[in-house]
Symmetry: C2
Subunit: 232 residues, 2 copies
Amino acid sequence: MFKDNDFLYIDYTSKIKDTGEVIDTTNEEEAKKANIYNPEKKYKPLLVILGEHRVIQGLEEALYNFNENEEKDFEVPPEKAYGERDPSKVKIVSLGELKRQGVNPYPNMLIRLQDGNYATVKSVSGGRVILDLNHPYAGKTILYHVKVVKVVKDDVEKLKSLLDRWFGENNKIGLELSEDKKSVKISIPKEYFLLEDLQTRKYILAKDILTYVLPESAVTYTETYNKETFKG
Amino acid sequence: MFKDNDFLYIDYTSKIKDTGEVIDTTNEEEAKKANIYNPEKKYKPLLVILGEHRVIQGLEEALYNFNENEEKDFEVPPEKAYGERDPSKVKIVSLGELKRQGVNPYPNMLIRLQDGNYATVKSVSGGRVILDLNHPYAGKTILYHVKVVKVVKDDVEKLKSLLDRWFGENNKIGLELSEDKKSVKISIPKEYFLLEDLQTRKYILAKDILTYVLPESAVTYTETYNKETFKG
């Protein structure tokens, strides 16, 4: 049994119940088997902070009832996954109009509309195209297979988990938590000084630390420049 | 007599020798009189670091031979100001072509060409337009009236001058120089955390400090977040 603000690492695979289609997985072999392998993605356990609402609602709710190392299957109904289907989001548009936008539609094609929304092509006939603007998984019950592989209890370990989340594993960022836990010192090495979104990552990391780990702390970033910084 | 890396504040007015046209001035009254007053601009002495090459070459060279509070007039030839005129940069283009680009040219108009360069319209006649791609002040001798109003000698004052340059006067940034001058601590208050180019300003400021003031120092920025940072 877990509670708000607990840090869990989970392995999971999610599938559409009706079809068995694999949506997502943290397991590289599963991804390859399901033909959704992405070489850009790192297949590794996912950090979930309970109460953060970064994962599908039904998955997060189920996690409260796990124990460490427990492995379970469960299903999540549409309203706690990708939402119910909204029939009013099915529209008929003219084939000519889509072609003018540079789209040559065929059934099951996922297209991006000019307003930025995505739609699935349901059918093309007689110069008319039926588009479905619902999320492709709307109305679907999702099957989850989940294992809680690790629970992070130590505050310093929690801080490291957040560092990994925002700066990647194997980052070279220094971390120091004072004895009284009132002060977190994070030193950014020069490799990161020209990272375009450094300021944003620091902002979000500090917010996560103060929200989920040490609300009463001060998080201080330091960045040190010397003449070596500007060489080569 | 000044030398490389000296920090001077100067008041100046520059004019085209031929015509007396005022190009630029640090004096608000002069700017208004010359009809070049810009309400967005702060009229105040300009920081010049000798050897930095941020101002017109002939002006910088002349400044080495000033004394504090000295006020002088001198002229700068084109090759040490805006360059010689290059006659091959005068081109004939068709009036129709410019109109297609949305430009309706008239003599002395400054226009921006599609390649990003600026040009001055010299004449328009018979469907042909003569454009001059030289800098408007190329080939001109420039008259300077300059006063060195202040020389910054103290290292902390130099650091403050650089802070003013990159973060504006009246900035709330904290500054601390250690006794042995090996360490400069700059604390950035939360008002600046979401400044889009904060990281760039910090980078350039550190570079200026290490180049012109304290080459052997370490410049350390600190930014502290706590729960107050994210309120309101």
